[in-house]
């Protein structure tokens, strides 16, 4: 009897080469939608994936528009919605938004900093059918965690919310972004996730987009640190098998091959920004010359099928050599378009993370440019 085949719905995770047991069948319908409800957030994490140029509060979509987007998403085949931001709890209508997603038949993930979700809010969300909560946590040591978040007392508030989530018997994921300041503590971080009662933990090496690109030199670990951290994952998985699922997001500056970013451009997932622009991934607007359509003007299906920006890098025809004749062409699709642009100035180029890229030396140079600088905290 064949078992179920795993697919990932979270572009973020799928983007980063989470090792799946089995390959997914190619699908032409998106599986996951990242709903960035707001760019407002009390924390200032220096690796935030939000763009430097953020959407303003007065431009945010209203409740009814989000409800329509969720119905259209379900009609397109989307199975899961990730309610994210910014901090989604900065929206006063979060419970109504979640309820609308659930009514549309979507599986609802709340992706929160843990700051700003009151017990009453959480109870209301649970009562209305919230499926899963993911809390970001910056380190296993409270002082370091608060320094990274740029928010005094954040760690304690996150732990308190985690306890409330577990008390309601909601499944909990701890999301931990790894970089130079905490990379030596992978074992402690997994132990912390277990102590929180999480059934799943994401150990995610920083991906250098948005604010993380600005703070790259301050965040970048050494190759030796990365190898030690990566080497801990399998032993930890064995040790905690059946207790907690450990998903690892690989550090691509030290990788040999690039990640199949968001499972392929416009292939499995989409993002809606707070103001309603629809993107193939959260960094897509960093590529110049692409016009992203807005849900205020078009249906989600129109955008998915007809927006030229979604078709710009679909498939692999646009890829140059060495990708075209590479046996991994249909595995990683030449890697990430945003990274190709950020590091080579050409969004069609082979992702320079790949050791076969003629620009690979750029990645090596940037990885070597480490500096103990002050963080530039993410602020609206």
């Amino acid at each position: 009897m064949p078992g179920p085949v795993q697919m990932t719905t979270n572009g973020h995770a799928a983007a980063n080469g989470r090792p799946n047991g089995a390959a997914a069948k190619p699908l032409h319908n998106p599986l996951g939608l990242l709903a960035e409800l707001t760019h407002r957030c009390p924390l200032g994490c220096p690796y935030c994936s939000n763009p430097l140029e953020m959407d303003k509060r007065e431009d945010e979509l209203d409740t009814a528009t989000w409800a329509r987007v969720f119905r259209e998403a379900a009609g397109l085949g989307v199975l899961q919605v990730h309610l994210s931001g910014g901090e989604p709890a900065s929206r006063r209508d979060l419970v109504d938004i979640m309820t609308a997603a659930r009514s549309a038949g979507l599986y609802t993930n709340l992706i929160t900093s843990g700051v700003g979700v009151t017990d009453k809010r959480l109870n209301d969300l649970a009562d209305a059918g919230l499926d899963h909560v993911q809390i970001s946590i910056q380190d296993a040591e409270p002082k370091s965690a608060d320094r990274i978040a740029g928010y005094e007392g954040a760690y304690a508030r996150k732990r308190a919310l985690a306890a409330a989530v577990v008390a309601l018997k909601l499944p909990l994921t701890a999301n931990i972004v790894i970089h130079r300041a905490n990379i030596e503590r992978v074992d402690d971080l997994v132990a912390m996730a277990l102590d929180m009662g999480a059934s799943r933990v994401e150990i995610a090496h920083v991906q250098y987009y948005g604010w993380a690109l600005t703070n790259r030199a301050a965040l970048m670990p050494t190759r030796e640190q990365v190898e030690r951290a990566v080497g801990r994952i399998e032993p930890l998985r064995k040790e905690h098998h059946g207790r907690i699922v450990i998903d690892a997001v690989v550090p691509d500056y030290y990788a040999r091959y690039p990640k199949p970013c968001v499972g392929g451009w416009g292939r499995r997932s989409l993002n809606v920004t707070p103001a309603g622009r629809v993107l193939p991934c959260h960094a897509a607007e960093s590529i110049p010359g692409l016009a992203f359509w807005n849900v205020k003007d078009y249906s989600l299906r129109d955008i998915w099928e007809r927006n030229p920006a979604f078709n710009a890098f679909r498939g692999t025809d646009f890829l140059p050599e060495p990708c075209q004749s590479c046996e991994r062409r249909d595995v990683d699709f030449g890697g990430c378009r945003c990274q190709a642009f950020a590091l080579t100035g050409d969004a069609r180029a082979t992702d320079p993370v790949c050791h076969l890229s003629p620009h690979h030396h750029v990645v090596e140079e940037r990885a070597a440019a480490r500096e103990d600088a002050e963080y530039v905290y993410r602020r609206l």
Partner: protein, 98 residues
């Protein structure tokens, strides 16, 4: 530490059920049955879906195997082995409570 215990092994008396946050759903656009779980989706074939549908927390493992063997006219031993492998795999991934 409130560290959870590792997933127990399945026994004939186990009453498997989906925990909160794991749901079986049918979706036309994705071509059939899917098991929805935190940040992941598992495509379930028809048989896997028939097994998971029976994991209500009411029926014992033994009763589920009897039911499937009868419904599909398959040898009980083979059904038991297949269902054990499927359900233990789900439990180890925290997708099923035993």
């Amino acid at each position: 530490m409130n560290t959870p215990a590792a997933a127990p092994s399945i026994t004939p008396e186990s009453r498997p059920r989906l925990p909160r946050g794991v749901r079986l759903a049918h979706n036309e656009a994705q071509g059939g049955w899917v098991l929805l779980a935190p940040e992941r989706v598992f495509k379930a074939d028809q048989i896997a879906a028939e097994v998971v549908k029976r994991c209500t927390g009411e029926a014992t493992f033994a009763a589920i195997v009897d039911d499937l063997a009868t419904t599909f006219g398959a040898p009980r031993e083979r059904v038991a082995a297949d269902v054990t492998a499927l359900l233990q795999g789900l439990a180890d991934k925290r997708l099923l409570e035993l």
